[in-house]
Symmetry: C2
Subunit: 109 residues, 2 copies
Amino acid sequence: MRTLYHPNVHDIQLSTVLYALSDPIRLRIIRNLAECGEQSCSTLDISAPKSTLSHHFKVLRESGVINTRIEGTQRFISIRYTDLEARFPGLLTAILQGLRAEEHSKAKK
Amino acid sequence: MRTLYHPNVHDIQLSTVLYALSDPIRLRIIRNLAECGEQSCSTLDISAPKSTLSHHFKVLRESGVINTRIEGTQRFISIRYTDLEARFPGLLTAILQGLRAEEHSKAKK
DNA sequence: TCATTAATTCGATTATAATCGAACAAACGA
DNA sequence: TCGTTTGTTCGATTATAATCGAATTAATGA
């Protein structure tokens, strides 16, 4: 568990990114990261067993959506915003905006 | 099979749309529709058994990505561009652009 | 009415993914 | 070195989805 795999920017695949972001829990993770910036895995406000969260972090990381930085016993995760923007311009912005739009329409009900 | 279910614009869910578009075959369908406009199911240039394609059309339709218009024994499908743009501005554009970008980087290899 | 065309649905199989407890690993501080 | 913290990996289970042949439906035209 010394190094964690992160795909090269140019190897990030659209279908893989879309798949990674099609899960509600993973979308919550991303929304949280977008709002609060880099987070330790444990400070993310999402209730699920550790092993489940770890699984989702892995899916996000291996798809190229997030970066995991190791610091001591902690891992700090953040969105690979620049890389994603370079590879698929406008995609992440639209998705984050979509998340907010969805939240608003839900609140109105 | 008189009427086919299409979600209302405001009921279109981001995670569902992303999921629908995370499959390579479905992305090909969308790319084809974006390039060629409305198509009959049978004129789409994608080689897979009819029942498999029908399944993918259903996923795309029920997620709100495409519209299916019945005309005689044929069904004409098209992207719900206006609806998607209204619900998630910039999303589809970014995805279509991403598909083209991916194609170019593939060609370079 | 009967064959044809175009596509859906059924049903079975296979593949892939989510979930989560338990065991494990790595870094750190006392 | 030993416990603590933080997170990963394993492994089993369950859930969801993809695939596709065969049967079915629905519209149409001869």
